[in-house]
Structure formats: C-alpha cells, structure tokens
Amino acid sequence: MPIEVLMPALSPTMTEGKLAKWVKKEGDEVKSGDVLAEIETDKATMEVEAVDEGRIGKILVAEGTENVAVNTPIAVILGEGESAVDAVSAAPVPAPKVAAEPVVKDSGARPDATLPTGPEKGPAAAPPASDEDKFFDKTVKKTVREALRDAMAEEMRRDPTVFLMGEEVAQYQGAYKVSQGLLQEFGADRVIDTPITEYGFAGLGVGAAFKGLRPIVEFMTFNFAMQAIDHIVNSAAKTLYMSGGQMGCPIVFRGPNGAAARVAAQHSQDFTPWYASVPGLKVVAPYSASDFKGLLKSAIRDPNPVIFLENEILYGQTFEVPESEDFIVPIGRAKIRRTGTDVTITAHSLMVSYALAAAELLEKDGISAEVIDLRSIRPLDTETIVNSVKKTNRLVTVEEAWPTCSIGSELSALMMEHAFDYLDAPVIRVNGLDVPMPYAANLEKLVLPSPDRIADAAKKACYRK
C-alpha cells in the first residue's frame, strides 16, 4: 500500500513550517534513515528522514511552500509493484495554506467539569486515629536526644532493612550525640559513617530505598541538605508518581532544622515551608520527646519519604516518655497542648514552648489562649485547627521561618477556605524576621519570635492593648 509521508512536528511547540527543500525527487529509491527533505521550523532547519522503504511516487507539497500544517501529507512512498497512479488516487487533496490547528486539541472541557475533587478541595482533612494517650500511664523522663536514639534502636531491632547513614553517626556517636550506642549494638553494616557528601549519600539512600531498604539519612543539619535537595524532591518525592505507583521510596531524612544559637545566616534557617510545599513528601516537626519518639517510629515505618525536622536546642530538653515500645504517634495529627477559649495559637518544634510561655503571659491579662502543636506539617491536621478557630474565632501562627510563603501563610489561606465566617479578627503571623540571620546576640534575638511578640500578636487579635 502506498505510504503517506506527513509534515512532521519537530519541536514540542511546532504547529506549521516551511518545506524548504526536497532532497529526494519523484522516482528516487529511499530506505529507512535517508533524508527526504529539509523543513524550517520556528527555531531551526531540520531534516526529515524516511521511516519506510520504497520509491518516491509523488511529491504533494512543492519545495518553498510556507505554513505547511503539521500532519499534512507531503509525499507518497510506493512499495514494490505499486504505481504512481495508485499514489495519486490515494493521496488526499493538498492542505490549504492555513495556520495549523494546535497538535494538542482543547477538548473544550473546563477543569471544574472534569477534575475529580482533590484533597485540598474537600472538607478540612480529618486526622488519622490514634491511641497514643493510653500509653502515658507509665512514663520515664527522657531527653529528646535519647528519645530519638530509642526510636531508631527499636525500629532497627524490629526490621533488619532499617539502617542509619550520615556524617559522624557511627564512630563519633553523632555530631549531636543522637546516635549514641547504635554502632555498638548494630555494627558498621547498619550504622554507616559517610564522607561529607550530602548530594551523594542522599541519592545513594534513595536508590537503596527503591530496592526496598529503609534508610534513615541523617543530615548534620538541614542547612546542608540544600546540597541534596534535588534528590529529596526530584528523586525521592516524585518517583512513585512518575512510575505509575511501581517505585516507592521508604526513606527518612532527619536532622536539626532552624536556628541554634549564634551560628549566623548559613547555619540558622527553618526549611519547614520548603519541604511542606512538595507533593510526595511527608513533613513532621515535633516538640516533645514523646512526639519525637512516636513520630520517628511512624516515619521509619512509613512507605513514603519523610522529612523529619529536629531542633538543636530541644535535643537536651527532658519530657515524660511512655515506657511501652508499642507507643507510636501517627503522622497527620496535631496535639492541643493547652485548651483555651479566646484565641488559637499554632506552632511547631521549639516554637511550641514559646507559644506556651505566651499563653501564660496572656492568662495574666485575662486572655485564654488555646495552643496547638502542629507536629505534622504535611499532611496538616486542618480539622483540629479549624475546630479550634470555630471556638476562639481568632488565630495567631508562630514559626521561625521567614514570613513569605510560610506555614503561617498557608494557615491564613486555609482559614479563608474553611473558617471565613467564624473569624472575628484577621489571622496574624508571627515569623522570623525577613532577613538572613545576623550573628550579634542582640540582633539574633530580635529576628526570632519571642513569647512577648506572640502575646502581643494575640492581644492584637483580641483587640486588646
């Protein structure tokens, strides 16, 4: 059967082009790979190659013709024993010189008509069920540092595919002494010191997770994870989707995040909003030792990549932690740390302690503040926050991160969507100031949120002095 050669699209955006030159003429024999013609696109002159074997039976579009639409037949190739007469009758009328239709046709359907309801379009997301409270009957005092170590040790005993890698995690026992004793218990095959090579070992961990291992990748701090963020976002978060669900990535990236003390701009940054914006990641930022333990256990068992944000200042703080190894905190549940009726204050990580201190100050002024520890940033427990705001009618958000596109910005938008009619005051954001972190002690203090700043914001929300 005669084969039509069509005007090809030669770039992602081409809809028409000029047939600049015929390299073959009628009657020429062609084989696969031979250049037939040259075509000028909007960007370049390209060659058109034959895909089939045969003889040029008829040229349908003369050389020099402009604005030839993509998919217009430009020639006919004949097989053995076929004649040009067949070709002419087989060929359609040459297309008129009109602008081509876009290759990707608009179906006419508008997104609202065809898109299924996405998670963000439905009602406020409900948190997963949890039985965490029942384990507080028997507790012991632990530092955050010890709670993290216990979580890793328990999960490594439970599952031989779990291993820890990072800088100074093994022989040095952790740059912040979080992995104390793990090398001694689990050996060098499962507690692995890496070179200082964040991009490399983050990618290596993701590759190991593709094969079903469950790496815990420690960054000495999340400031250094910026070297590795390509593998966190492009490789870990997206591969499940890009593989149509085949290739999951059960990995935990953990380490201290946010400001420590007096380490200046490059070592004092809160990355929570960066990771929280990425579909395919889960992001947690706990405050208490029990939550660090319960959430790290959940993160290690989770079949998805989890960004586990710790805080250097919290490492040495002591909390009551359930004794039971069955204690676990599901990702996606906020915790109400203090109940109140006049204003809701949300915070995560170290800022929870500042919010609680602010609530004490507010109580002296007769203002009853409800403090919500977000714990999980993605997924966010929108339901718990919305229910609180429906009661208090006011929201103050607190975090170390810069204000632009922050968790506070997100919460403001969520209140517009889910609690607009309940708000008696604008949502107020208390963030780190919009500058790189300065070194000088007095300046650093001015940048970070403080209980006073939080209390002032809450009073403003309550229209009080």
Binding site: L6, P8, A9, L10, S11, P12, S32, G33, T41, K43, A44, T45, M46, E47, E49, V51, V70, N71, V104, T114, L115, P116, G118, P119, F163, T194, P195, T197, Y199, G200, F201, A202, G203, L204, V206, G207, A208, K211, G212, L213, D230, H231, N234, S235, T239, L240, Y241, M242, S243, G244, G245, Q246, M247, G248, P279, G280, K282, R301, P303, N304
Partner: protein, 338 residues
C-alpha cells in the same frame, strides 16, 4: 582556550573478541534492530504530534546496551538517564508499554504519568529513566549498596553520558562506591556530544580515567561493536561480582540523531555523521559478519526484519489505541497509602 593539548593514547580495552555463537549473534542483531526500528517509529510518532515534550533517541548507540545486557544476569539492576528507550527494550520490557508511555496513554509503563524520560519496571529491575543529568549515578550506586547490604550477589549497571560524567555527584558516588567496594558497573556512553557541546570542549582528560584517583579501574571500549562490548562487560562484571568494587567502562559510541527531537545538530558536519553511519554502524557490521561467516542467509535476516517490524508496528498501534489516563489518575500514586 586552545584545544590543541595532546591526549594520551587511550588504553583500548583489549579483551579478545570472544567468539560468539551464531545463535548469540542473531540474538544481538534482533535486539539491536528492535531498538533501531522502535526509535525510528518513535521519531515518526513524534513528528505526527503523538509524542510530546522531550524525546531522546538512541539510534547509533544500540551495541552498548545490548552488549552490556548480555553480560548481566537475572537480579542485576539497570539505571540510566533520559535517553532510555533502548535500555528498557534491552531489559526485556514490553515495547507496547514503552511506546504507550511515550504517547502518554493508560497502557504505558507509568500509566502515562512519566513519559519518555521517566519509566520503570520493578519486574525487569529497570530503575529508570531519570531526567536530571547525573542523578542516576548516586541512585544506581544506592542500588549497588542494597545488593551488598542484602548479600545477594547482584550488581547494578549504571549508565551515564559524556555530559553527565562532569557532574559533581558522580564523583561523590565514585568515592563511596570505591570506599565500600560496592558492586557497580559504571558505563559511560561517550557519544561525543553533551547536547551540542563536544567532549573536547567540555571534558578535561580521558573519561575512562575519571575514577583513577579513587582506584577504580577504567577502560575504553569500542561501543560500536556489540561483541567487543559484550566481551569487556563479561570480563569486568566477573571482577565486580568477585567483590572487587566498581569498574568504569567508557563506550566510544555515536548518536546519529540530534540530542532531542528538536535539535538540528548544527554542531557537527553531515560528513561526520555519514562516515559513522556508513563505516561503523553496529547493526550493519554485525549483519555483514553474519552473512560473511555464512551464519545466516539473506532470507533469514529478512524474516527477522519482518518480525521486528511487526513488533514495532503492533507497539505503535497499541500506543495510539490505548486511551488517555482517566482524570482520576491525577490524584493516585502521590503517596503510598499505608
């Protein structure tokens, strides 16, 4: 800067061309021809607007992946960059599923959500398909890490181009792979051009020596000859499997087409391309060997050509008949539901 510095003479891998049986050579011929015809068809479907975005064809480089694959065994892993269609076919993935992914249809390996650069098959141990130049190198090193961790005797074949080999993360990977003696074969497919920049303008020194500071053996191989590729790969795969750590094989190869479909390839002469095609084509040369040695008849080769063409035609038809993904697929596979 003048590029007149003299290059040291390459130590071309001198493993003897192992005699291949007629059966093996016919198998290689069929596999290379399948990749060639598949890619030509993909180019044609791109021209018809049925394949969108970026589409990087493997035409000219077929001997590399077919030769290396012949040295691997079940359970070994393969990972590469975005010029990945040939690797998938060589791993035994279904041409229908690959082509339907190129057209963005439901029947594609990633249900139409990955496209040309992002395809995977857990069943065939093909780990992608990665669109960030060089990213497959640490990922593939991680696959090798998992083999060592699991003590399963497998290895990972990590392909990258002469462009990717200049990325910093490649050397971070070399360091860890050598330090921990990971079972990984790094295959550099040197097709002479990183998009439009020739190797001479982008890379100092010889690529096969890039691991020497880490103590990683490196060798240059004629990547246009499937039997030479197979012989080198077999030799060094055995070395890796014996627990000696990583190896680098630089395959000197050539792509006939542009970097992607929209590349007019003005950075090289037509004569250069024509010379490679007429003198060094891996498929033509193997065909000549087969005929000269009287391993096959013209008719038998024509029969193979017909069979390959039928497979590709079927894949092309499937890729157009398979429906587009259901809009509900937008929201699936973002997270694994625990």
């Amino acid at each position: 800067m003048a590029a007149s510095r003299r290059r040291p003479k390459a130590q071309t891998e001198s493993a003897p061309k192992q005699a291949a049986s007629a059966e093996e050579m016919i198998k290689f011929y069929r596999e290379m021809l399948l990749i060639r015809r598949f890619e030509e068809k993909a180019g044609q479907l791109y021209g018809m607007g049925l394949i969108g975005g970026f589409c990087h064809l493997y035409i000219g480089q077929e001997a590399v992946v077919v030769g290396v694959q012949a040295a691997l065994k079940d359970g070994d892993d393969v990972i590469t960059s975005y010029r990945d269609h040939g690797h998938m076919l060589a791993c035994g993935m279904d041409p229908k599923g690959v082509m339907a992914e190129l057209t963005g249809r439901r029947g594609g390996y990633s249900k139409g959500k990955g496209g040309s650069m992002h395809m995977f098959s857990r069943e065939k141990n093909f780990y992608g398909g990665h669109g960030i130049v060089g990213a497959q190198v640490p990922l593939g090193t991680g696959l090798a890490f998992a083999h060592k961790y699991n003590k399963d005797d497998g290895l990972s074949a990590v392909y990258s181009g002469d462009g990717a080999i200049n990325q910093g993360q490649v050397y971070e990977s070399f360091n860890m792979a050598a330090l921990w003696k990971l079972p990984v074969l790094y295959v550099i497919e040197n097709n002479k051009y990183a998009m439009g920049t020739s190797q001479e303008r982008a890379a100092a020194g010889e690529l096969y020596q890039r691991g020497s500071a880490y103590g990683i053996p490196g060798h240059q191989v004629n990547g246009m000859d499937v039997l030479e590729v197979r012989a080198a790969a077999e030799k060094w795969v055995e070395y890796i499997r014996a627990g000696n750590g990583p190896v680098i094989l630089e395959m000197k190869t050539y792509r006939y087409r542009g970097h992607s479909m929209s590349d007019p390839a003005k950075y090289r002469t037509k004569e250069e391309v024509e010379k490679m095609r007429s003198e060094s084509d891996p498929i033509d040369n193997l065909k000549r060997n087969l005929l000269d040695g009287a391993y096959v008849t013209e008719d038998q080769l024509k029969e193979i050509d017909r069979e390959v063409k039928a497979v590709v035609t079927e894949a092309a038809e499937f890729s157009q008949q398979s429906p587009e993904p259901d809009p509900a697929e937008l929201w699936t596979d973002v997270l694994v539901e625990a």
